[in-house]
Symmetry: D2
Subunit: 140 residues, 4 copies
């Protein structure tokens, strides 16, 4: 893992430029290119609830957090346009607000694909979902 | 596959009651419990774009469509509360508007889990993404 | 989908050259490059049972069948060395002998990856497992 | 995670009783029920090679190792018969002998399903594949 010229602020600028990610309100909270980890938070809003008043995120919002933080973990290592090839989400518990934290960890970024693990935890630190994504690596 | 007492209108009422699904604007367009198929459409709106002006849905919106139509395909067969256990999404092409169609097909609904395949096509009928989900089956 | 110069006999020769696949005893039973489908059979032997005398294949043998027929479905379309990037298996029922049939269907083969669906059925035609694989596409 | 009455020797006895696992030659090398980790080794033999003389395991053997160690990680926590519901394998590098080590880590074992991560490393400690499995939990 080589250190990257990208900062959390750079990634935040990309997040804010995407209408769908802006709707989710993702915030890049941690970036450690040496360690291969990247984290984002997502704050509960009524529009993100699975059912009104539950205080629980819809699974689609959780999946979107997973896909996005996994994608930018590759961008952090190899800057450029990174398409998601596929990903898997396992839901372990209801994802309750007020915030979720999605933490991506690079398992391997090769020449053509990158494989990233993403853990989602709630404010109490409980693991609510896990993701694993495969992404296309930009040509350097 | 036994026929179900649920109609497309019943499922639409569930969709509209979820704030996140209402944001996505999913519309239940086809239900055939005998055949084990269920379809929903999603209309492009600026908030669903991956990047402004591209006319392409963000992958998180596509994943949310897949998860939702897969989930309700189980509900169609065994009415009740159906948690997503896990799902996988493979993106095959950019998902371009103005509409996407997500079509779920029941592969098997057993006593504890249901496995559903979901194809996503654009208005030209091109396959843009495929999903496969595993869902908990309500106790009858 | 363009037609391929590979025949079922060509693929069988590749299968027989792999010690692990030869152990499994896979037989290429159908190839239709135009339709994008490829099928292989696997015969139950005592060494492939999950528990002695059950008449049921071990899940690892089923997964190996899925991976192999999916891989050669890409080879059928774009001849060359095709690495598996990742795959998913869902087990729907016990996989009972005397034979299993694994049928691969090309969902899309692009420039860098191919996505293949694989259905596994027993002699009674019951679906016992489904696979979905993502494979690297050889440079033409 | 509660401590389990199962020992590595108990699990080894189960492995040896399965014809297919006995063919693979899996050896239970580490069990820590408190930590939720379980490890098995697989030794390269000519019959497990993807191509003769490569010194590399076939991906189906690697997938079988992943499925098996993940399954027994659930057994370790909740003894009984544990069916694999589904699993995913991502191949990161060729899996070279003379031994592979598959290490399972419990992410969550709930009332109905358990989710397990499995890392596969070669003798040099390089990560060659990662698995994630979902298993049925025996009724206590």
């Amino acid at each position: 893992m080589t250190s990257s010229p990208m900062t959390a602020a750079d990634i935040q600028a990309h997040l804010d430029a995407s209408p769908f990610i802006a709707f989710l309100g993702l915030h890049c909270s941690e970036l450690d290119a040496e360690a291969g980890t990247l984290a984002m938070t997502m704050k509960l809003r009524p529009e993100l609830e699975r059912a009104a008043g539950t205080g629980q995120f819809h699974g689609g919002a959780v999946a979107s957090l997973i896909d996005t933080v996994g994608d930018f973990a590759v961008v952090m290592v190899v800057p450029g346009d990174v398409p998601t090839i596929n990903f898997r989400v396992d839901y372990l518990r209801p994802s309750t607000g007020p915030h979720l934290l999605g933490t991506a960890r690079v398992r391997r970024v090769g020449r053509t694909v990158g494989v990233i693990d993403i853990d989602v935890t709630d404010e109490a630190g409980r693991l609510t979902a896990v993701g694993r994504g495969c992404y296309g690596v930009p040509k350097v």
